[in-house]
C-alpha cells in the first residue's frame, strides 16, 4: 500500500514538474517578446510619459531604418522605438510567434502587400482608417486607396519598388543601336534583344539577360499591363503571354541564355553576370542600382550602364511595376495612437528622404525624395526614371491566397521554360491546380 502511495505521489510529482516545465517554456517565450516592455518599464522611471513601441522589420532594412527611427525619436521624445531586425527567411515565422502570443508587437513591416492581406484576413491588424491624418499623407493617397480592403485601411506604404530597363551602353554603341527610351514596348524589347545578340570579342553577347527558371521574374511584362493575380483566370491569360515572350527570347530569338544553362550556381547571380559585360539588357528593380554600384566598388567588374523606363504593354498606358512595402499596426497594441504616429512617420517625406539616400525608392514621391535618390549616384545617369511612371502593384492587395497561386504558377512555368511542357498544357495545368489546390480547398 505504502509503496503504491509513494509511487503515485511520484507520478503526480512528475506531472506537476512537467506542467511547470510547460508553463515555464511559455513564459520564457513571453519574456523574450516582452523585453521591449521591460525596457518600457525601465525608461518610464526616467520620464513617466515615455511609451515604448516594439517595431519588427527584416534584416535588409536595418541600415536605413535605424536612421529613420533615430530621426523619429528625436522629434517625438515621448516615444521610444524598440526595433528588432530579423533575418529575412525567419521573418514571417518570428512575426507569427509574436502575434500568437499577442504581445510584444506594435508596429511591423512586410515587403509586399500579400503578407498584409494575409494578416488582415486572420484579424491581426488594426484598422487605421480613422486614426491617420489623410491631409498629411496627401501625396500617398493614390497608393493608400489601393491598400483599402473591406472598407478599412490596415497599412501604410513606405517603400515602393519600381522596375526599369538596365542596359549596357557599350554593347548598344558597338551594335549601333539607339539607347532605349520611353517609347519602348515589350515588342521593341524583343526586337532589339535580337539585334543586340552577337559574337563579341569576349565571347557571346546576349541581347537580354535571363533569370533562372524557378524565379518568377519572367512575369514582369504582365505586371506592366496591370496583371498580378494567378488566382484570377483573366490574369492567368496575361501571364501566359509573358511566359511565352520569355520562352521566345530564349529559344526562338536565341537572344538570351536558355534556362537549363542557368540552373545551379550560374543562374543565381544576375548582378555578376551583368557585370561581366556580355548582356545588353535586363529588367530589374531599383535595388539593382545599389547592388551593381557596390559590386563595382568592390572591384568585381566594371561596366558602363544606364537605366531607361521599363518597356510597357502595347496599347496600354505606359506604367512600371513594383511591389510596395507596407507597415502596419498590430491589433493587440496597447498604444494605438503612438503606433499610428510612428507608422505615419515611416510613410512620410522625411523618412522617404532618408530611405532614398540609401538607394531605396520611397513610397513618397516628390522632388526632395527624387533628388535624394538621384544625386548620390554617378551611375546610372537617368536614375530619375524610377520616379517617372505610375506603378502597378505586382501583388494583389486583397487576396490572402496569392502566394499559394504564385507557387503553383512558378512550379509549372519552370517546366515550360525548361522545354519539358507545352505552353497550353502548362497553363491548363496551372488553372486546374489553382482550382483544386487553392480556390476549392
Amino acid at each position: 500500500m505504502k509503496k503504491q502511495k509513494v509511487f503515485g505521489m511520484l507520478v503526480v510529482g512528475i506531472l506537476f514538474l512537467f506542467l511547470i516545465g510547460c508553463s515555464e517554456t511559455e513564459s520564457s517565450n513571453d519574456a523574450n517578446s516582452q523585453t521591449g516592455e521591460r525596457e518600457n518599464a525601465d525608461s518610464s522611471n526616467e520620464s513617466s510619459e515615455t511609451v515604448t513601441l516594439n517595431f519588427f522589420d527584416w534584416f535588409d532594412e536595418e541600415n536605413y531604418m535605424e536612421d529613420v527611427i533615430a530621426k523619429f525619436e528625436e522629434a517625438n521624445p515621448d516615444i521610444k522605438i524598440n526595433a528588432t531586425f530579423v533575418p529575412t527567411n525567419e521573418y514571417e515565422q518570428k512575426l507569427l510567434v509574436n502575434m500568437s502570443s499577442g504581445e510584444g508587437l506594435d508596429v511591423f513591416a512586410v515587403a509586399n502587400v500579400g503578407g498584409m492581406s494575409n494578416y488582415q484576413s486572420k484579424g491581426q491588424l488594426l484598422d487605421i482608417s480613422d486614426l491617420i491624418d489623410r491631409n498629411e499623407l496627401e501625396n500617398l493617397s493614390p497608393l493608400i486607396e489601393q491598400l483599402e480592403i473591406e472598407d478599412g485601411l490596415y497599412s501604410l506604404p513606405y517603400r515602393s519598388g519600381a522596375w526599369a530597363l538596365y542596359y549596357n551602353k557599350d554593347i548598344f554603341d558597338e551594335a549601333g543601336v539607339d539607347y532605349p527610351d520611353e517609347t519602348w514596348t515589350w515588342e521593341t524589347y524583343e526586337e532589339k534583344a535580337k539585334e543586340l545578340t552577337m559574337k563579341g570579342e569576349n565571347g557571346q553577347i546576349w541581347g537580354s539577360l535571363n533569370y533562372q527558371p524557378s524565379s518568377t521574374w519572367w512575369r514582369v511584362p504582365a505586371n506592366t499591363a496591370g496583371i498580378n493575380n494567378p488566382n484570377n483566370p483573366e490574369d492567368l491569360a496575361g501571364f501566359k503571354e509573358a511566359a511565352k515572350l520569355n520562352y521566345e527570347l530564349s529559344y526562338e530569338d536565341k537572344a538570351q541564355e536558355p534556362y537549363s544553362d542557368l540552373v545551379g550556381e550560374a543562374g543565381k547571380d544576375y548582378t555578376g553576370r551583368f557585370l561581366q559585360g556580355n548582356h545588353a539588357m535586363l529588367f530589374n528593380g531599383e535595388w539593382l542600382v545599389e547592388m551593381l554600384n557596390s559590386a563595382m566598388e568592390d572591384g568585381s567588374g566594371e561596366i558602363n550602364y544606364d537605366v531607361a523606363p521599363l518597356p510597357y504593354t502595347e496599347g496600354m498606358e505606359p506604367r512600371s511595376a513594383g511591389a510596395m512595402a507596407v507597415a502596419m499596426v498590430s491589433k493587440n497594441t496597447e498604444h494605438p495612437e503612438e503606433a499610428v504616429r510612428f507608422l505615419s512617420y515611416l510613410a512620410s517625406e522625411e523618412a522617404g528622404e532618408i530611405m532614398a539616400g540609401h538607394g531605396v525608392l520611397p513610397a513618397w514621391q516628390s522632388d526632395i525624395t527624387t533628388e535624394a535618390f538621384v544625386e548620390r549616384l554617378d551611375q546610372p545617369e537617368n536614375a530619375g526614371v524610377f520616379f517617372e511612371r505610375p506603378i502597378n502593384s505586382q501583388v494583389p492587395v486583397d487576396d490572402p491566397l496569392y502566394t499559394e497561386g504564385m507557387k503553383i504558377m512558378e512550379e509549372e512555368v519552370s517546366l515550360y521554360l525548361l522545354q519539358e511542357k507545352e505552353l497550353d498544357e502548362t497553363f491548363n495545368t496551372i488553372q486546374e491546380r489553382i482550382d483544386s489546390e487553392v480556390l476549392n480547398k
Binding site: I14, V263, E437
Partner: protein, 289 residues
C-alpha cells in the same frame, strides 16, 4: 520485496531528470502535433477541431501524392546503393595498406560536412557545363541537364546522398568486418572456397546483422531527406524532387497550415513505422545472429 522496490525507487529518481527532459522535449511535441493534426490551426486564429478532415484532404492532395511517390523513388534507389557501396568501401578500408587511416577519414568527411554546403558545391558540379558533364561529354554526346531536368534531378540528388552517406555506414560496417573471426576464412579456404565464395558465404552472412542495422538507419533517414533538396533543387523542377519532409516544411512554415502539416507528419511516421516493421519481419530470412 521491499528492498527491491526501494532500489527501484532510487533508480527512478536518478532517471527522473532525463524523463522530465524526454516528456517536455519529445513526448509533449509528439502528442501536441497529434492533437494538432485534427485541427485546422494556422498559428493565429483559434484552433478549431475538424476531426479527420485533414487526413481526408490528404488523399485528394496531388502534391502530397507526388511527394510520396518521389520519396519512395528516392528511398528505393538511394538505400540499396548506399548499402552496396558502403559494404564495398568497408571491405576496401579493411585492407592492410599503409596510410589506410587517412582514407578512412577522407571517406567519412562528407558525413560531417554540412548538407547545405555539400548541396551548393554539388549544384555547381551538376551545371550544364560543369565538371560532371565535361567528363560525361567524353563518352556521350548530350549529357543530361541534371538539376534542370525533371528526369535527372532526382538521380542527381540520389548521387549526392549516396556520396554523403556511404562513409558513415562504411565505418559501422568496417567495425563489423573486423569482428569476423579469422578462422572462418581459414576453414573456407580449406574447403576450397575462392575469394568471391568467401565473400558471399562468410562475410555477408556474418555481417548481416550490421547490414540490417545500416539498412534500417539509412531507410529512416531517407524518408527524412530535406537539406540536400533545399540546397540543390527546392523541390524542382516543377515538383520533380518534392519529397515528404520538404512538403511538410512548406505547408507548415510557408503556408502556415500547422494542422494539415501535422497530419502529413503522422502519415510519414506511420509509413516509417510500417516499413521498419516489415524489415524486422523479413529479417529472419537473411539476417544471421
Amino acid at each position: 520485496m521491499k528492498r527491491f522496490n526501494k532500489k527501484y525507487l532510487v533508480a527512478f529518481m536518478f532517471l527522473l531528470p532525463s524523463l522530465i527532459g524526454l516528456s517536455i522535449f519529445v513526448l509533449y511535441p509528439i502528442l501536441a502535433s497529434l492533437v494538432m493534426s485534427f485541427t485546422n490551426w494556422d498559428g493565429l486564429t483559434p484552433m478549431k477541431f475538424n476531426g479527420i478532415e485533414n487526413y481526408i484532404q490528404l488523399w485528394k492532395d496531388e502534391t502530397f501524392k507526388i511527394s510520396l511517390i518521389n520519396n519512395f523513388y528516392y528511398t528505393g534507389v538511394s538505400v540499396p546503393l548506399t548499402i552496396i557501396f558502403s559494404v564495398l568501401l568497408a571491405i576496401m578500408m579493411n585492407a592492410k595498406v599503409k596510410g589506410i587511416g587517412v582514407f578512412r577519414v577522407l571517406y567519412f568527411l562528407p558525413n560531417v560536412t554540412a548538407a547545405i554546403a555539400v548541396g551548393v558545391i554539388w549544384s555547381s558540379m551538376f551545371t550544364k557545363e560543369g565538371p560532371i558533364n565535361q567528363v560525361i561529354a567524353l563518352f556521350i554526346e548530350n549529357p543530361p541537364h541534371w538539376l534542370g531536368s525533371s528526369l535527372w534531378a532526382m538521380p542527381a540528388i540520389i548521387i549526392v546522398s549516396v556520396w554523403k552517406g556511404v562513409g558513415y555506414f562504411a565505418i559501422i560496417l568496417l567495425a563489423g568486418l573486423q569482428g569476423i573471426p579469422h578462422h572462418l576464412y581459414e576453414a573456407a579456404t580449406i574447403d576450397g572456397a575462392n575469394k568471391w565464395k568467401q565473400f558471399i558465404h562468410v562475410t555477408v552472412p556474418v555481417l548481416s546483422p550490421v547490414i540490417f542495422f545500416c539498412t534500417i538507419m539509412a531507410m529512416i533517414s531517407s524518408f527524412q531527406v530535406f537539406d540536400t533538396i533545399v540546397a540543390m533543387t527546392e523541390g524542382g523542377p516543377g515538383r520533380a524532387t518534392n519529397v515528404l519532409v520538404y512538403h511538410i516544411y512548406n505547408t507548415a512554415f510557408l503556408d502556415f497550415e500547422f494542422g494539415y502539416a501535422s497530419a502529413m507528419s503522422y502519415i510519414l511516421f506511420i509509413i516509417i513505422l510500417l516499413v521498419t516493421i516489415i524489415q524486422f519481419r523479413t529479417q529472419k530470412r537473411w539476417v544471421h545472429y
